[in-house]
């Protein structure tokens, strides 16, 4: 079976991903930039502001809100140390109680409050999150720089987590072997694979583990 060529910024079949977080990936970033194929100008540098909703009881669903739109991804499997996540739902505010009950709160793996209205605005939803003892909204600002190495989509990002800075580097592809080759070539072999949920839980003190450096 021939592999599907990945295109940055376009939807593909579910990808595997290596991602890590720390303070210093300068050497790996340098190698990534030198090994990169030419990438479209639209991914040279991108900025976004997102809100991640963290749940103390959940590590397998990744919920974020960008520009008022909710996006939930769910963990599928790990192959050779690389994680595969699939889209679970996409929704927009105002959001129906039914969607919250059947898709959103099950993804958080917490009980939905009983006295919820038939439809919630973004602000009403955020108030529920704020008042829930097991849920927390975390503000994330991203500045991402895109590359393409060994047919894997790569990026280096400066990320602010509630205003504090971490650096991320990643390689993703439908092909696990291409990711393995890439992380070896940029010198990241043996570095812990840390996804966004894990990183945020560590920074906000829910998991007592350090970042990669």
């Amino acid at each position: 079976m021939s592999k599907e060529a990945l295109k940055i910024g376009e939807v593909s079949k579910p990808r595997f991903e290596f991602r890590t977080f720390g303070q210093d990936f300068e050497d790996a970033h340098y190698l990534m930039s030198r090994l990169s194929a030419v990438v479209p100008e639209k991914v040279w540098e991108r900025q976004s502001d997102e809100i991640y909703i963290l749940s103390k009881t959940n590590d397998i669903n990744n919920t974020k809100i960008r520009d008022g739109k909710m996006d939930i991804k769910t963990y599928v499997q790990t192959v050779d140390g690389f994680e595969q996540w699939n889209p679970l739902m996409k929704g927009e505010f105002p959001m129906k109680k039914e969607v919250l009950a059947n898709e959103v709160f099950p993804a958080f793996q917490v009980e939905m409050p009983a006295d919820i209205k038939d439809e919630l605005s973004y602000d009403e939803f955020m108030t529920i999150i704020e008042n829930h003892p097991d849920l927390q909204a975390v503000r994330i600002h991203k500045e991402r720089y895109g590359y393409m190495v060994n047919d894997t989509i790569c990026e280096v990002g400066d990320v602010l987590v509630n205003g504090a800075h971490v650096v991320t580097i990643n390689s993703e592809s439908t092909e696990v072997a291409d990711i393995a080759k890439t992380i070896k070539e940029v010198g990241l072999e043996g570095v812990e694979n840390i996804n966004y949920l894990q990183m945020i839980k560590r920074v906000i003190g829910w998991i007592n583990k350090p970042l990669a450096n």
Binding site: F21, G22, Q23, D49, I51, P133, Q136, A137, V138, R139, H141, L160, V161, N162, G163, A164, H165, V166, R202, V203, I204, G205, W206, N208, P210, L211
Partner: protein, 205 residues
């Protein structure tokens, strides 16, 4: 007994302080640089006590007063780990502003305290910090620039301290701190990073 005169303090946090940092370095030589690691114990309920552990010693700074928007804190050494449950119950948890748990042991090592008592308490978060602190003296005030890593995430802080609040205010002006820079103490900054509180000038999300 040593009599401690509490200093007045102004402190600000930001991702960078380019022009203010340049000004500090132009006015004074760096006198000392040191790296320290500390664990802050943070709760939503407490704002007036700064509770931290360094080298297995716990100290609690109490907010004495705020004057001209400057804070005066009084440090008090609580003790060293292993620490008696009685001290944890009667001094530490009341300062955290939350109820003490039932202690099963007479005393706790630091590792036991963090990995059992604090980890199990839903109201208390241990924030592991590394600070690289650079000291200066400007206008008779102690000034400090520090790179701070809160649970691995980076932020910068600049502080001005003196027993004389007038000197702190003068030095703030001299260094170019405008009113937009809020006086923010460590527990508040950490609370904002770990999401227990919002930064006042939040980005327009």
């Amino acid at each position: 007994m040593t009599h401690i005169i509490p200093r007045y303090e102004f402190r600000a946090f930001a991702y960078s302080f380019d022009t203010i940092e340049e000004k500090i370095r132009s006015l004074s030589q760096e006198e000392l640089s040191r790296e320290i690691t500390e664990i802050y114990l943070i709760t939503a309920a407490n704002s007036d006590n700064n509770i931290k552990i360094r080298n297995k010693k716990m100290d609690i700074k109490n907010l004495v007063q705020t004057k001209n928007n400057l804070e005066q804190w009084l440090p008090q050494l609580i003790g060293e780990f292993p620490m008696k449950s009685q001290v944890l119950e009667q001094e530490v948890f009341p300062s955290l502003g939350v109820s003490a748990p039932v202690f099963e042991k007479e005393e706790y090592s630091l590792k036991e305290f963090i990995s059992k008592i604090i980890k199990e308490d839903p109201d208390v978060i241990a924030a592991h910090t590394k600070k690289i602190r650079h000291s200066f003296t400007i206008n008779h005030c102690i000034c400090e620039i520090a790179e701070v890593y809160v649970n691995g995430a980076f932020i910068k802080t600049i502080a001005i301290e003196s027993e004389d609040p007038g000197l702190v205010t003068e030095t703030k002006k001299l260094l170019g701190f405008t009113n937009e820079y809020e006086n923010t103490n460590y527990p508040t900054a950490i609370k904002r990073i770990i999401g227990l509180e919002e930064w006042p000038h939040q980005y327009d999300w």
